[in-house]
């Protein structure tokens, strides 16, 4: 299958412009016979919304932008990020997977970073699940940015049988060393390598670029194979459109070589977790 990552810089708080940007990339992807096109976190709205969250929030079922994207998904599958008003007055940082004209799944960000430069917990309601769902390409799971830095969350997608893990991100770069990238870029890459390898799954990470209020989104989107090999990587800092053919048979190959999936013991982990939780409640 052919995957494309749109490493874009959305317009902050401007749904219309961002919708047009999505359509532009959908057209480009269609020309290249892409099967799955992925946009970054909050691709329809921009990231640093603060009090604008409620102004750009969309109801999932009745919004015209989402309906038009649904129609576009008859030709290719789409993943994008938006602010969702799921219940009245409750706003989620969400990711939707659209295919064949339908919404296959919506993931709502669970880990809302609220420390230092991040203040998502101030503006968003918290998602409550990591769900594996079926797609035309196999089982997939989605995470949004900080979700992916929880190996517990990654494990849930592994235990749920995800073969393709899609992470959409708006990760600002920080930390300058002697290297030619931000320190934080290395953090995402090491997680990508590790989780793909130990989940026997494709790991697709789509980050954004551009500045918002002085925060610099670091780009560097990537795809890792189920054996933990880097398959493709977008540029750091610059806009990019990464198109990559991936072979789903690699999942079988990886599972044959390293039977982590076959040998997994979710029951043991669940029981142990219950004991841990019980202890700290005492």
């Amino acid at each position: 299958m052919k995957v494309a990552l749109a490493q874009i810089s959305p317009h902050l708080g401007d749904l219309e412009k961002n919708f047009e940007l999505h359509i532009k990339y959908i057209k480009k992807a269609k020309k290249k016979n892409v099967d799955l096109l992925i946009f970054p976190e909050l691709s329809l709205t921009g990231y640093t919304l603060k009090d604008l969250v409620e102004e750009v929030a969309l109801p999932l079922e009745t919004n015209t932008f989402i309906n038009q994207l649904k129609t576009a998904s008859c030709d290719l599958s789409l993943v994008f990020g938006f602010v969702e008003e799921k219940e009245r007055g409750l706003y989620y940082n969400s990711a939707a997977f659209l295919a064949e004209g339908k919404i296959l799944h919506v993931h709502r960000k669970v880990f809302l970073p609220t420390f230092g430069m991040f203040e998502e917990g101030k503006f968003y309601a918290q998602g409550k699940n990591f769900h594996t769902f079926s797609t035309p390409f196999g089982n997939a799971g989605m995470m949004i940015c900080r979700d992916f830095l929880s190996y517990g969350a990654c494990y849930l997608l592994f235990a749920g049988d995800s073969e393709i893990i899609i992470v959409i991100s708006a990760a600002p770069g920080r930390g300058i060393t002697g290297k030619e990238s931000y320190e934080t870029s290395r953090m995402w890459e090491s997680m990508g390598e590790t989780i793909s390898r130990f989940s026997n799954a494709f790991l697709i990470y789509c980050n954004r670029v551009g500045f918002e209020d002085g925060k610099h989104f670091a780009g560097g989107s990537f795809i890792y194979s189920p054996l933990g090999q880097l398959v493709a990587k977008a540029s750091y800092l610059d806009k990019d459109f990464l198109i990559q053919e991936i072979n789903l048979n690699d999942i079988r190959e990886a599972r044959k070589k390293w039977p982590y999936k076959r040998d997994d013991k979710p029951e043991v982990i669940l029981e142990a977790l219950k004991r841990i939780i019980k202890n700290y409640e005492d």
Partner: protein, 270 residues
């Protein structure tokens, strides 16, 4: 504290470029003193915006810093940016002839604000955004004149310590004469930053880096070999200059107040 110079150059030129185009400006304006910081900023702006879109104002007070003026002029010519020299003596002298003082700091601050006033005037005349030239060291220490040299539209250099700017300056090809000059705020002849602060930049930056970037407790910094009096001095400078890094504080009366819970992004709609 080592930086990768080409990477930092790329970040800062992208920033200058993006911020100006977001607000539909083509031109950047800055005050060029012949010192390290404004030279680095001018060079970055020339790369980001093309030299023809950078306008430098060289604003000496009389002849006391004529070498700096020459170097600023030479740099502007080498970078191919536009520049103008405006002597601020008449405006400053007329003020102090009516309100005399011997206090050098009062005089220096007045000069810094005179330059700010000219920069903002030219910002409107030339339709250019003002690029700030305050580095992280002086911002943290509050070593700048509020509404004077600290005033700008965007500040590309604000997250780089003085010693890191020195590294960047070399990479950008800023002449050695400027790079090796003793840093000075230029408030009066013979003034140097290090004499006035009482510590050299290498030491200041290392202490700041541990305090601010590493969030290391004071005790540990002292244990790692810095003098307690030096660390205390730096902490007190940071503490006493917080007002220079914030908008004026507003008492909260209503349910939604500027500076408290009226939280809009700077780049709204950009």
């Amino acid at each position: 504290m080592k930086i990768n110079e080409p990477f930092v150059e790329k970040i800062l030129t992208t920033f200058i470029n993006e911020e100006l185009s977001k607000f539909q400006y083509k031109k950047g304006i800055l005050g060029l003193s012949g010192g390290l910081d404004s030279s680095v900023c001018a060079s970055l702006a020339a790369k980001a915006l093309k030299p023809g879109n950078v306008f430098a104002l060289i604003m000496p007070y009389g002849k006391i810093f004529s070498d700096d003026v020459k170097e600023a002029q030479k740099l502007a010519q080498a970078l191919g940016i536009k520049f103008k020299i405006i002597d601020i003596t008449p405006m400053v002298d007329i003020y102090f002839s009516n309100h005399p003082t011997e206090d050098r700091i009062l005089k220096g601050n007045k000069m810094a604000r005179e330059r700010m006033s000219i920069l903002y005037d030219f910002s409107a005349r030339e339709k250019g955004l003002i690029l700030g030239t305050s580095n992280k060291t002086e911002l943290l220490l509050g070593y700048g004149t509020i509404h004077g040299d600290m005033a700008c539209a965007i500040n590309p250099l604000g997250d780089l310590y003085k010693t890191q700017l020195k590294q960047l300056a070399k990479h950008l090809g800023i002449p050695e004469k400027i790079r090796e000059k003793t840093p000075s705020a230029g408030l009066w002849a013979g003034q140097t930053d290090e004499k006035e602060i009482g510590l050299d930049y290498n030491k200041i930056d290392k202490i700041l880096f541990h305090l601010v970037d590493k969030r290391m407790p004071k005790k540990e910094i002292i244990a790692s070999g810095f003098k307690k009096t030096d660390v205390d001095k730096i902490i007190s400078l940071i503490k006493n200059s917080e007002f220079k890094r914030k908008l004026p504080i507003i008492p909260k009366i209503s349910v939604r107040t500027i500076g408290h819970d009226f939280l809009l992004p700077y780049d709204w709609g950009k």
